[in-house]
Symmetry: D2
Amino acid sequence: MTVQVGVIGTGMIGQEHIRRLTDTVAGARVSTVSDVDTERAKEVASGVDARAVDTGQEVIDDPAVDAVLVTSWGPTHAEYVLAAIEAGKYVFCEKPLATTAEDCRRIVDAEMARGRRLVQVGFMRRYDPGYRAMKDAIDSGSIGAALLMHCAHRNATVPETYHSEMATHDTAIHEIDTVRWLLNEEIRSAQVLKPRTTSLRFEHLQDPQILLFETAGGVRVDVEVFVNCQYGYDIRCETVGERGTLTLPDPHQVVLRSDSQVRTHVHQHWKTRFAEAFDVEFQEWVGSVLDDEIAGPSSWDGYAAAVTADATVQALHSGRVVDVPLPERPAFYA
Amino acid sequence: MTVQVGVIGTGMIGQEHIRRLTDTVAGARVSTVSDVDTERAKEVASGVDARAVDTGQEVIDDPAVDAVLVTSWGPTHAEYVLAAIEAGKYVFCEKPLATTAEDCRRIVDAEMARGRRLVQVGFMRRYDPGYRAMKDAIDSGSIGAALLMHCAHRNATVPETYHSEMATHDTAIHEIDTVRWLLNEEIRSAQVLKPRTTSLRFEHLQDPQILLFETAGGVRVDVEVFVNCQYGYDIRCETVGERGTLTLPDPHQVVLRSDSQVRTHVHQHWKTRFAEAFDVEFQEWVGSVLDDEIAGPSSWDGYAAAVTADATVQALHSGRVVDVPLPERPAFYA
Amino acid sequence: MTVQVGVIGTGMIGQEHIRRLTDTVAGARVSTVSDVDTERAKEVASGVDARAVDTGQEVIDDPAVDAVLVTSWGPTHAEYVLAAIEAGKYVFCEKPLATTAEDCRRIVDAEMARGRRLVQVGFMRRYDPGYRAMKDAIDSGSIGAALLMHCAHRNATVPETYHSEMATHDTAIHEIDTVRWLLNEEIRSAQVLKPRTTSLRFEHLQDPQILLFETAGGVRVDVEVFVNCQYGYDIRCETVGERGTLTLPDPHQVVLRSDSQVRTHVHQHWKTRFAEAFDVEFQEWVGSVLDDEIAGPSSWDGYAAAVTADATVQALHSGRVVDVPLPERPAFYA
Amino acid sequence: MTVQVGVIGTGMIGQEHIRRLTDTVAGARVSTVSDVDTERAKEVASGVDARAVDTGQEVIDDPAVDAVLVTSWGPTHAEYVLAAIEAGKYVFCEKPLATTAEDCRRIVDAEMARGRRLVQVGFMRRYDPGYRAMKDAIDSGSIGAALLMHCAHRNATVPETYHSEMATHDTAIHEIDTVRWLLNEEIRSAQVLKPRTTSLRFEHLQDPQILLFETAGGVRVDVEVFVNCQYGYDIRCETVGERGTLTLPDPHQVVLRSDSQVRTHVHQHWKTRFAEAFDVEFQEWVGSVLDDEIAGPSSWDGYAAAVTADATVQALHSGRVVDVPLPERPAFYA
């Protein structure tokens, strides 16, 4: 059996995932695509023997589409995800689930009204072998109860359009999800520290930032976000428990000894750093569509991340500790 | 387009690859299977919606089969590979290509007579990200001309049926291929050292062994083969060049600090150590079948490995340096 | 030439340093010792051919004493250091320089009045090869301007007498000095986060704690203090700059592969972790006494650490960001 | 008590050790020195308040000399060591103990005739913390019985005067001692492999070489000697046992992330790589002189290394396995 996937949005990340679904993932094919740039949609479609249609709604409505992949411009996500739920179709939405917490909430409500899980959000780190091993080790009790987490999220550079709120909404959103998932608790408050900024930055940008979270259970988390660190794309995470700590390994790289140094290469982009995670993410999603049982990051996870991110941005602007106004998680998402 | 794969042999490794072709690799499905144990073949076939037939020849002859995967008992490999060539079908043969160098040679000759590459041999290390990075780094000149290689191939344990010649034929065969591939030269002589054996061994077994190779270009290679090392499945490789060295990284694993130690886990089996390599190997093979251009390890590689292994086993028994009687590589395999 | 050292205080750390001055450091001998426990003083003295006297003042006054080492109970430090300055003798004072910032200030004033540096404080990390290499690399510009520091200070366990303020005064005092020294700036504010505490703690103890510092130049520093982490004595430090980061290496330890794991040992005590640092510290101190030019951590460093620690403890109790009321550094200590 | 050391030979290594005995080692001073270059001897002497005399014999005869350090030209070692034994004085001889096995044997015999250990040979690796931890771990049974050792000894470059025999006599002599000490057995045979040589070498030089040893107990040892490896001074050692392996750690170095790489520095010279080992070596020697009980590498160790090295050089020239004609170790050296 093959899952026929309809893809809304054929930009950079859309093309990446279309290639993945076509060349790397078993049990799936891309049947239908759309893009605001219809010429681009046609071109991409022809490369994978798919049909190009004019609108996202047509993708969703296409009877040849078993499941929808939303990789369009962020502000359009909510509309398409809601339409897919309306159509009763599985939908994988790249992060963010929606650009406002309210829209995320509407998706959560629509899905609950529909009565079963249809939506998966693209938090790919849950599929990275290193993070998975950390999750397994925490769950197995190897370090006792978690007390602290130290994280860093570094990008070599970002374009000038990047602004200070994006450090949370676009970048640390991954850490927000990772912390919730690894610890299996919600974040209840956020604070942001503003270090001296890099002189290699843009004037308007607070870079780096230190985000400080406290979870419902009292675990303290510090997240360095540094998006112009120059040297590479580098993700760090240590969880400290009562009896020990767990550290995410550096990606393994061949070790070069030369010119009086021992050297390994640092990834320069999340596409390569998390290539394996993306592959596993889509393979498992296709499997869960075939099994009729979605198990990955849920609408609730997308909503909780959005509410937490909003509070974090408030904390950035206010300089104060801000509570995360997240309601109780519905049993539906337990 | 989907490649329909016929699988001859549904034992442990056959089932592993059938699962891989079904659940992990894009663009392929298993259409037909056979096994000497026909009941097992039926059972495996039913699990993946394939047809079970009585013989390997029937698999090859099945019009629904685009490409053949040979994972049967070693002594039957040559027969099936030759039949597939005869039928003009692509064939992926798990190592060994054949159990004698003569049979490997017959395959090489049959393929050349047929006029194009049909055969790929299952030397999966060429698809491991660590080895690939080492190959790229050597080829890019980062260490200058290679002079030495230090390798180790360790298994936690082997069953009592394992005998001393298998250290070469079953185990170090991978290093033989890896050395040839990384250095892009043939091995011209072999010597075997017999260290004190482990007291945890079987009486009949020389374990560990040190294999010493010299390549056509004068590179010296030492390979520790230790198949009852107890602690895990551990593969090591360092290439030493005129200006530097390259070391295969340890597989990355979450780092646990607890109980007064810093600890990472060691793989216990080649199935997990090289899981990613196997996935990439089959994905690329399926791609090359679709592209009608086989690019992986060739019949010649299988033949050269067999001839080198025979010389190594002679060296084990004689205690002497033994020349590898490999003819010039035909232009066909350049 | 040999420096004759008089030692006030022959407890655990005093005996450790007496052994060091006798057996490991060139150019020194212990000539005179005292302790509140005069019997212990006599016993220790006889082991190294020194003279035991009744009081610290007698040690200082002894014409056979060229330089004084104060390793007595903390609350007595100020008295002895001031007396040594009064006597015009060099004095090495184990941390803390004094138990109140006021007393530290009196020492600073007395030393300035005396007109030359006589005092060195026992911040041994400045002599650790790893920290020194980090300092050199920062100073050489390898990472550009520093923006952030991430530190952790973990002890396996502490006795029940340890209370929450000691996390700063006894433990993080080393990080306070290290940060000031590495960055060559003062700390201007402190905040303390209180994570969920370890259930393996004592009821009265806030453990772990996260200390947050901001330097005069805007560098943000987070320090995890976790004194019952169970697994060992573990010191971590990363400095993040505009162009790169520097990480303190784990102490090098032989690597054991066994029982399906790769393992290294973690130090269990600061005495072994910083053994080399202590040796170098005293060797250089003896050299600077012989050269008549004290170069190590100064009275000012002791005073600044005390003022910073006081503000940090206030922050622990208030839950707020507390400014560090440190005056301008006198030119005398430039 | 202070040991008065007389130093014969004030060249580079002599001056290094004189500085060490003066500035770093407790309980010693250099009282008397000599050198074939009497002007240099005077200059060095004046720097440490020692007396310069005209000959090595005068150093030995000086009543102000408690113990002799021989750091003169290799061919003169035997004469001075024998004279020191004759005078009944402790003597530390930098390697080699003598330039011929016969002379080493004469020293052994003279020392046994004298009836007690007076001689220590400068095999400093036994004092390196990494090697010591490996020795302790082997002796504690952590890897079971040793079966194999893999070693590498790399220098960045050597001068043109270096010739192929020096790879054994000057360079691998350290591995010969290390293997004997770690395994507590003698080496019984040697073989040398000649890889393709580096094009950055001198014409006359076989570089690299692979030395293959077998111990009395059947442990197989491979030693890469590569003295123009360009990238640094790098020492590697792994001991493989029945239940696990032990690996010498890389020297710990601050870790720099910058310019898309993770980097640590490689030592460029044995003086820095083994600085700590040299310090500990001399500190313990001075201690053992004071205790009247020499415990470090003995005349026998120097003799055994010389005999083994001679056999290795024969193996280099003959291309064959050569037995090491070492007699039984006398009980005197048990």
